[in-house]
């Protein structure tokens, strides 16, 4: 095997690792397994894993900039769906854009910068699309980002359904499961003290009074507008503020119960 073939195999291995959302803990064993190059051989040819990861990330940065620029230029429904379709065909880039856990070998500041730019260009695309929705542009961008983050758990039936939905729908048409299913929410035993127990998983949680209020409403409805209206009727809070808190809380809930 020549050195360039060897390097190419490692880079391909890292691509698959990223595609499977396994960038949280990049080890030599992992890279060895995914690249098909024995660990000992790998370590003989490279000074450290950081070097090869850095080189892979540089390639990915360039590609991510192209994706971000693509969304910046969107001015039609077809253009948006084309860009979204392209992104969804590149799972390794998607993981870099939305995955929660990224190994420290990958520069966090650059990742944060790329994610910020992506969100901004997505927001601009949504503004240009001038769709009709009662939700703000920021909220729609948030929902698209949220749905993309759910897609990175590859292999699940739910993930494939979300990919299909993102490929054919504009942001305000996406079926966004903001909250865990009603079945899950309703089975939770919620005590006045803020203690929450899930009788299926056996896990328990503690919630503050705001979270408790939302959770109790959620056991009746999952409509964000309705929840916002109940909260603003009951508490002295701006509708936009309440809505943001509800969306923030929904991310936590999905993380805990999905």
């Amino acid at each position: 095997m020549t050195y360039s073939n060897f390097e190419e195999s490692l880079l391909k291995g890292l691509d698959v690792i990223a595609s499977e959302n396994r960038l949280g803990n990049i080890t030599t064993q992992l890279v060895s397994r995914y690249s098909g190059i024995p660990e000992a051989k790998m370590l003989r040819h490279i000074s450290s894993l950081d070097v090869i990861v850095a080189s892979w990330f540089q390639l990915k940065q360039r590609k991510l900039r192209v994706v971000i620029d693509g969304f910046n230029g969107v001015d039609s429904k077809e253009g948006y769906l084309q860009q979204m379709g392209n992104l969804l065909e590149l799972p390794s880039l998607l993981t870099l854009l939305v995955a929660k856990n990224i190994d420290r070998m990958i520069d966090v500041d650059i990742i944060e910068d790329l994610r910020h730019s992506f969100r901004e260009s997505l927001l601009q695309a949504i503004v240009h699309l001038k769709g009709t929705s009662d939700r703000s542009h920021e909220e729609l961008a948030g929902e698209v980002m949220f749905t993309l983050s759910e897609v990175v758990s590859y292999g699940s039936k739910d993930s494939r359904r979300k990919i299909a939905s993102l490929k054919k729908n504009l942001p305000w048409e996406i079926e966004c499961d903001l909250f865990p299913s009603q079945e899950v929410i309703k089975r939770l035993a919620v005590s006045e003290s803020g203690f929450i127990f899930d009788p299926v998983s056996g896990k328990s949680y503690s919630a503050n009074s705001s979270a408790m209020s939302i959770l109790k409403i959620l056991q009746r409805t999952t409509d964000v507008g309705e929840i916002t209206s109940i909260i603003t009727d009951e508490y002295d809070v701006l509708s936009s503020m309440a809505e943001r808190d509800i969306l923030d809380f929904s991310v936590n809930l999905r993380g805990l119960f999905s």
Partner: protein, 358 residues
């Protein structure tokens, strides 16, 4: 009048990091409102604490290790039964179950009834049979292969195996290995203690949920109790747990019991991964050490087993009345010291017997 059977229970060891289930089984029966049972503790070691706990064992006897053979065990049980008139034997340790299954007719001739799995059922739950059982249960199981050489760990990547992986003995012990070096260490450690072959199992990252129940031998599963571990010992045993109500786990276990006509106690261990896939990890053909939780949730399974043995027509109300099952009941295990008179210890060493009532 309440029945007052004499019940012999094995597995009265209670090492904090890996306790046997015997003491917990005895405790469940002693706390039964229906039964006024006399408990005879059976142990292999003079330092098994359950033998000396007068609350749980009225009298205790040493018995020979399963490796001593069926005749030795049978004749010791005959001796003990001549003194105590044993009605029921509840075996609680994996290693003795096959021997007990084989001598069951001889025990019955002595008037000792046993409700435990037969040899075929015990073989069925062997670790290398898991794929077949998982198929019965309609759930997945981690990939598993038998090996006899540690060289496997240096070439396994060519066959799609990756680290971490679980290296297990056929009967006992399991280690999670993160590298070939760790795997080789685990391989030799297990081989030294338990012999060959060694099993290598795909590592499933997730959360473990367990179920214990009784099979009536006719395909019915009775009194399922489910538990999620909340704290574990170094050996992965439950140190604290909470009862749960997981229908999917219950259905999977019920299918295994139905397909195998399981008789007696069983514990089903399942791992649930982040995508909510259920993987069958292991089946134990006995009550688990956390069986006292069954009393806590209102489904006292050792009591139910005794009632089923005493009366084949016994109606199990716990299973039919599902709404009475309590999820969210916790147990927390703890260790304490038992103070023992030298006379009792001497009696156990010299005569293999102690009477806790005297």
């Amino acid at each position: 009048m309440s029945p007052a059977p004499v019940i012999a229970i094995t597995g009265m060891n209670a090492k904090p990091d890996n306790p046997g289930p015997g003491m917990a089984v005895a405790r469940c029966i002693k706390e039964s409102a229906e039964l006024k049972a006399k408990i005879i503790g059976l142990s292999y070691d003079v330092l098994d604490p359950g033998m000396y706990r007068s609350e749980y064992a009225d009298a205790s006897y040493l018995i020979p290790y399963p490796s001593s053979g069926e005749d030795a065990l049978c004749s010791r049980l005959e001796q003990i039964s001549a003194l105590e008139k044993i009605d029921i034997l509840i075996p609680c340790l994996d290693a003795e179950l096959k021997t007990i299954a084989r001598i069951k007719p001889r025990l019955e001739a002595l008037g000792i009834k046993v409700l435990s799995p037969n040899e075929e059922q015990i073989d069925l739950r062997a670790k290398d049979n898991l794929p077949r059982l998982a198929q019965m249960a309609g759930i997945k199981t981690p990939a598993v292969t038998k090996i006899t050489s540690a060289d496997f760990f240096h070439t396994c990547h060519k066959h799609g195996w990756g680290f971490p992986m679980v290296v297990k003995g056929v009967f006992y012990d399991a280690y999670i290995a993160h590298s070939p070096a760790e795997a080789v260490g685990a391989f030799h450690k297990i081989a030294l203690e338990w012999g060959y072959p060694i099993l290598v199992q795909e590592f499933i990252s997730g959360e473990e949920v367990n179920l214990t129940a009784l099979g009536d031998g006719k395909g019915n599963m009775l009194g399922a109790v489910m538990m999620k571990k909340r704290a574990i010992t170094d050996k992965g045993k439950a140190w604290a747990g909470i009862s749960i109500a997981d229908k999917r786990l219950e259905n999977a276990a019920s299918k295994i019991v139905e397909a195998s006509n399981w008789q007696g106690a069983l514990e089903v261990e399942v791992m649930v991964d982040k995508n909510n896939n259920y993987y069958l990890i292991e089946i134990n053909p006995r009550f688990p050490a956390w069986i006292y939780l069954s009393r806590g949730v209102g489904r006292n399974l050792p009591e139910l087993l005794v009632n089923l043995v005493l009366n084949e027509e016994y109606e199990d109300k716990t299973t039919t009345n599902y709404s009475d099952y309590k999820s969210g009941v916790l147990f927390i295990r703890y260790a304490e010291e038992l103070i023992l008179d030298l006379e009792k210890f001497e009696s156990m060493i010299m005569h293999g017997f102690t009477n806790n009532l005297s």
